[in-house]
Assembly symmetry: C2
């Protein structure tokens, strides 16, 4: 798709860089933009710029924040003393959507991955150790992804915090609700059997 | 998802207005923007604005154009005398991607739809009649969608052009390639049988 419309082609290429957007979806989105009101597109573009310019990291936990300290760190109704560690801000919002957790968070901005050259110094770990020391943390829940890198990072954190009297835990691994055994991989089945609970 | 981040929420809402984008996809796209380089986002926003500001309609055929006349109307290698009528510019690009058609186009910017209050005067029809008169058109292929509105519009056009010596045709209806009879609706099957061809 070009036909003397390099602008349209440029917009299509921008959409194609977004995750899960291929040629066809990008084309649909591009034409949708053309059909939008000018005011609406102006507002969209402005929001894109502002999001990038004004959203930074919370100085305390590394979560997204429009000011120095994020809303969750500032929220006095949340439980102190428990930290949930996540890889990325997006994971934090997924955990929040369950409504189950009311403690504080700490965002690593990555996981240990020697193959990609990502070591402990590249993650938000120094600040984590300071927080454990200073904030009287009793428990650290390491909610990194249940992947090799996530597990390695969890192990690293549990060793790093050994010298402090803090419990380090990991969310249970097992069968996802609504799933069917037929479609579950054997590693998950093993974990689910290992962690079996009385009815 | 809000958490003191109205900007993030605003961007998410903008993405949700795009076709086929729900809450989850919008969230993924929003976080992707946060992870992009600032330069990249700036360029994306700028392209959005420019697409809307600088792309207009071709004065001759109604196709998208960055100047008065679109690239297809300007292309001297294309066959004159044949017009393919489409509902929207997006349809034109889909036809172009087949590489089958080398004539000119005419974009209606809609279809007749009495229920939505869209009559002949709302479509790019007057200009069509002028072109048939002035450009020595021999054939008009009405490639509106194979829907009730598309068929109605095609019928309207064929009547409108009756007084000129122009052949009005419609693309064949039948079984899509690679499809399976099991999943084809009975209307399409009827059309395919009606239009059967010797092997």
């Amino acid at each position: 798709m070009d036909y003397g419309l390099p602008l349209l082609k440029a917009l299509l290429e921008h959409f194609k860089k977004l995750p899960g957007v291929g040629e066809k979806t990008a084309r649909r989105l591009t034409f949708a933009v053309l059909a939008m009101e000018e005011e609406e597109v102006r507002d969209f573009a402005e929001t894109l710029l502002q999001v990038k310019e004004r959203i930074g990291s919370c100085r305390r936990c590394g979560n997204l924040a429009e000011s120095e300290i994020c809303e969750i760190c500032n929220d006095s109704s949340r439980t102190d003393g428990v930290l949930c560690i996540v890889e990325r801000p997006a994971d934090l919002y997924i955990l929040e959507s369950s409504g189950q957790y009311r403690g504080r968070y700490h965002v690593l901005h990555g996981v240990l991955s020697p193959l990609d050259g990502i070591g402990p110094e590249d993650l938000n770990l120094e600040r984590l150790e300071e927080r454990v020391k200073e904030e009287g943390i009793r428990e650290v829940i390491v909610a990194t992804n249940p992947s090799i890198e996530g597990d390695t990072t969890a192990l690293y954190i549990s060793r790093m915090l050994k010298r402090y009297s803090v419990k380090v835990t990991r969310p249970a691994r097992g069968l996802p609700l609504g799933s069917s055994l037929e479609y579950i991989d054997s590693g998950t089945i093993s974990k689910a059997l290992e962690g079996r609970e009385p009815i």
